[in-house]
Every structure is written in structure tokens, then in C-alpha cells.
């Protein structure tokens, strides 16, 4: 029941995303290209954040003179 509602909500968000980015008008293979580009760029950003987050946090704490 809750899963069905959640699925409906997710579908509605995907539909809104398609309308806002004008992907609704494109053919399925074009949508695949755009979505894969978007997901790969977003994935790369998340991965970079994950790799460099400890260094960034250490640098911020060092700047505010909380550490060393």
C-alpha cells in the first residue's frame, strides 16, 4: 500500500522532470542519452565529493584553528 503510493509519487516526479527539461517531447533513445549524460555527470560529482571530503573537512577545521 505504502509502496504503491511511493511508486505513484516517484512516477509523478519523473513526469514533472520530463516536462520541465522538455524531455517529454523527445524520442526514447534521446531520453536515454540525456539521462545517461546527466547521471554520469552527477555520479562523477558525487564520487569526487566522496573522495575529497575528508581533506576538505580537515582544511576547514585547520582554517578555523580547531585543529593544530
Amino acid at each position: 500500500m505504502a509502496l504503491g503510493d511511493a511508486w505513484k509519487q516517484i512516477s509523478w516526479f519523473y513526469y514533472q522532470y520530463l516536462l520541465v527539461t522538455a524531455l517529454y517531447m523527445l524520442e526514447p533513445w534521446e531520453r536515454t542519452i540525456f539521462n545517461s549524460l546527466l547521471i554520469s555527470v552527477a555520479g562523477m560529482a558525487v564520487y569526487t565529493g566522496y573522495v575529497f571530503m575528508p581533506q576538505h573537512i580537515m582544511a576547514i577545521l585547520h582554517y578555523f584553528e580547531v585543529i593544530e
Binding site: V20, T21, A22, M25, L26, F34
Partner: protein, 452 residues
């Protein structure tokens, strides 16, 4: 209930002005400057306070119009969507150019490459890449009369809107928001349709001749008398096409050496008629009375551009309701300005006739003004009367002049008798003269005007 602006002094009557283009007095100011200030202040007050009859204002009831601005987020996202579609359009064009994908749009053959191109490839960019994707929303075939409800023929496209196939089914009773059927007269059954059918059997379908030769039937004369009575003016004249009414008659009434002040958002027929006439055209901001007054004052003070002679005529061209915005013209103010500066007024009531006002007589009736204040009343029968054609109404001597000098009367075919009969029947229904009370139900609430 209403104060006709014929009774009001309109602040300018006291000054005993001569005709347009009077020479400026000392210091470049026109006479009775303080009267101007008073009028301007009352105009300004009307902008802010939006009423009232009691302080001598021009409006008998509140006139509120608000048009919301586009939210910033919506505008930005729209541009972003266009950008994405453009990028994909370039991609598809690249694929078509390198023959990876088949090109469906009309192109020239390889052998014709050295000639002058017939189809410009880049001009069709948006047609090829944007319009074709969403084209199934428009131009849908119908299979019933487009009245209040319409039947659509269902179709499907296997190749993303380049070609269509009919599935064989029909979508019934779709609510029709696309016709100018404001009062519901566009039906093929009912009193209007029956009288039109009777007249077709009697008169035929048309005379194939102009009004001045053999095309003038007695039904045309009856129609013109009825239109004149409907509007409350002395005389009227009907033409076969609404667009042609404007574009062919404005050149007949105004010429070189005159000035036309037209609203920013006037219809193409008015713009075309103004350009064809050869007069000077100046545009004032949409429904902005300060802009109009400034233009009028400049025109009267400075006269014609190089010679500074007075203008022969100044004609203010406005519409009753503007079709794209839904805004109603500020008619009391325009009439007050026209009377003070002795200009002429041409009111195009294409959308407002039959639809506004307690008796359906248009925007003049809506504000409760005297139709004799407007010099030329123009309108079309296409929208509220369910027919086709246009009319011009005004004083008798103006109409007699137009009957001889109008381009449309000399060269264009006269109106077809069943159309004339449809107009007569629907107009009688609105006026209540046909013996039924259907006409009383047709008053449209002013708040719904912007949805028309």
C-alpha cells in the same frame, strides 16, 4: 445608472478650441493648461483609486484589470527546455546530414544543387526539430459541427508525427474551446439554421457580383437596418469578410496628411488598413491613456513632421476587447480625450459585440456610453453571431460616403444570403425580437472576458 459622456463636460468643452492643429499659443502651451492638469489628475486618480461616479469620474462602476507577470522560475525553465531541444535538434540534423538517419522533410534532389535553393534548410530548423515532435496536438480533424461540443477523428502516428494514420474511432463530445462561438449560435440545427436553409432555397447561394453592380439584395438592406438598430446608430453597412472590412475601409476614410494613433496590440487587419491608407501612424502603449494623451498633444502642437502644418484628421484606432490579452479598452477615457482634442475614434468591436454589456450591444453598452460618441463603430459577425463578415456603423452621411467609396463595395463580392440570414436570425434572438427569451441568457459576466 449610467452617465452618458455626452452629458459630461469632460473638462475640455469650456475652452472653445478650434479644429485640430491649432497653432500653439505663447510658450508652446495649449490653451487652458490648468484644465489639462485637472483632467490628468483625474486620470491619475482613476489609475489608482479605480472608480467612482460620485466625484465626477468617468466610470460608472469599478474597472479592475490585472495581468500577472510570468514567474521568474517558469521563464528560466522554459528557456532551459528550449536550449535542450535546440541541442538535440542540432544532433538530429547532424545525423540526417551524414545519412545515418532518413530525412523526412522536403528537400531538393542532388541534381538541383547548383540552382537557387527552393528550400532553405536552416530556416526550417524549428519546424523540423520542434514543431514536428508535438504536431499531433494541432490541426486535428473533426467530424461534426464545431459548436459547444465537437467530435474528433482519432489518429495515431507510428513514426513520431511525420505521418498519421486514422484508427477508425471517433472521440465524441469533446468540449470545444477553440471556436469563436461565444454565444453558441454556431450550430447546424435550430432556428437560425432553418431560416438560413429557407433563404438558400429562395435566393440561392450567392450573386457573384459586387454590392454596387448586382449583388445588393433586399436582405442586405434589411441586415444593415437591423445592425443600425442593434447598435443605436443611424446607419450601417455590412461586408463579406471581417479582415477586409478593416483593411479596405480605413484607406477609404483616411489618407495622406492625416494621423492615425493606434494601440500597440491592434489586430493585423487594422495595421494593414492603416498602412495602406498612406497616413502617418503613431503607436501608443497598450490601453495607456497617458501615452495617448501625450501623443495627441504632440500631434496638435507640432503638426506634420517637416512642414508643421496642422493634421487633416487625427484618428484614434482601438479595439473593444483585445483578442490576445483579454483586456477591455478604457472607453470612457478615450472618448473624453477624443472630445477634448477633437479627434475621431474608430472602435473595432470584433470580439466584444454581442458578448459585452447588459443587452449584448458591445463595449459601448458595457460602459453605458452613447454610441453616437464613437465616430466609426466596426465589428465582425464571425464571433458572437456564428456567421462571417463585418460591418461598419456610424452617421448616415459617413455611411453614404462609404457605400460609394469603399474598396470592398466596389470590388468585393457581396455577402452570401444564407450567411446574411444567419446574422439576422441571431441578432434578432439577442435583441429578443424573435419572440423567445433565449436572448436574456446570453449576458456574459465581465470577469470571464479574459477567458474568451
Amino acid at each position: 445608472m449610467t452617465e452618458s459622456s455626452a452629458n459630461k463636460p469632460a473638462n475640455g468643452e469650456v475652452c472653445h478650441r478650434t479644429t485640430n492643429g491649432v497653432k500653439p499659443c505663447r510658450n508652446g502651451f495649449v490653451k487652458n493648461h490648468y484644465q489639462q492638469q485637472q483632467h490628468q489628475k483625474s486620470c491619475y486618480l482613476e489609475e489608482k483609486v479605480y472608480h467612482i461616479a460620485s466625484n465626477g469620474g468617468l466610470y460608472s462602476r469599478p474597472f479592475l484589470e490585472s495581468f500577472e507577470q510570468t514567474p521568474m522560475l517558469v521563464a528560466v525553465l522554459t528557456y532551459m527546455g528550449y536550449g535542450i531541444l535546440t541541442i538535440f535538434g542540432y544532433l538530429r540534423d547532424f545525423l540526417r546530414d551524414w545519412k545515418i538517419e532518413k530525412c523526412h522533410i522536403a528537400r531538393e534532389r542532388e541534381e538541383q544543387k547548383d540552382f537557387v535553393p527552393l528550400y532553405q534548410d536552416f530556416e526550417n530548423f524549428y519546424t523540423r526539430n520542434l514543431y514536428m515532435r508535438i504536431r499531433d496536438s494541432w490541426n486535428r480533424p473533426i467530424c461534426s459541427v464545431p459548436g459547444a461540443k465537437v467530435d474528433l477523428v482519432e489518429r495515431a502516428s507510428p513514426d513520431y508525427n511525420w505521418t498519421f494514420e486514422y484508427t477508425g474511432r471517433v472521440v465524441r463530445d469533446v468540449i470545444n474551446m477553440g471556436s469563436y462561438n461565444y454565444l453558441g449560435f454556431a450550430e447546424n440545427k435550430g432556428m437560425c439554421a432553418e431560416s438560413a436553409a429557407t433563404v438558400t432555397e429562395c435566393y440561392g447561394v450567392g450573386v457573384a457580383s459586387t454590392r454596387q453592380e448586382m449583388g445588393n439584395l433586399d436582405r442586405h438592406r434589411d441586415l444593415e437596418e437591423l445592425v443600425a438598430r442593434f447598435l443605436g446608430v443611424e446607419s450601417a453597412m455590412a461586408f463579406g469578410m471581417g479582415f477586409a472590412t478593416n483593411s479596405m475601409n480605413i484607406p477609404a476614410i483616411i489618407g495622406k496628411g492625416s494621423l492615425i494613433l493606434s494601440d500597440e496590440l491592434n489586430h493585423a487587419s487594422l495595421v494593414l488598413g492603416a498602412r495602406l491608407s498612406g497616413a502617418t501612424i503613431r503607436v501608443f502603449k497598450h490601453n495607456n491613456m497617458q501615452s495617448l494623451e501625450k501623443l495627441l498633444r504632440d500631434a496638435i502642437i507640432h503638426g506634420q513632421p517637416r512642414t508643421h502644418r496642422p493634421w487633416r484628421k487625427i484618428l484614434i484606432v482601438v479595439e473593444g476587447i483585445y483578442s490576445m490579452e483579454g483586456s477591455i479598452v478604457r472607453l470612457p477615457e478615450v472618448i473624453a480625450l477624443k472630445k477634448r482634442y477633437k479627434a475621431y475614434l474608430y472602435l473595432d468591436e470584433a470580439h466584444s459585440i454581442g458578448a459585452l454589456g447588459p443587452q449584448g450591444r458591445g463595449v459601448v453598452d458595457y460602459f453605458g456610453l452613447d454610441p453616437r460618441d464613437v465616430d466609426i463603430l466596426m465589428g465582425t459577425f464571425t464571433k458572437s453571431f456564428g456567421a462571417a463578415g463585418g460591418y461598419i456603423a456610424g452617421r448616415k452621411d459617413l455611411m453614404d460616403y462609404l457605400r460609394t467609396h469603399s474598396h470592398s463595395a466596389v470590388y468585393a463580392t457581396s455577402m452570401s444570403p444564407p450567411v446574411v440570414e444567419q446574422i439576422i436570425a441571431s441578432m434578432k434572438c439577442i435583441m429578443g425580437e424573435d419572440g423567445t427569451t433565449i436572448g436574456e441568457a446570453f449576458v456574459i459576466h465581465p470577469a470571464l472576458i479574459s477567458f474568451l
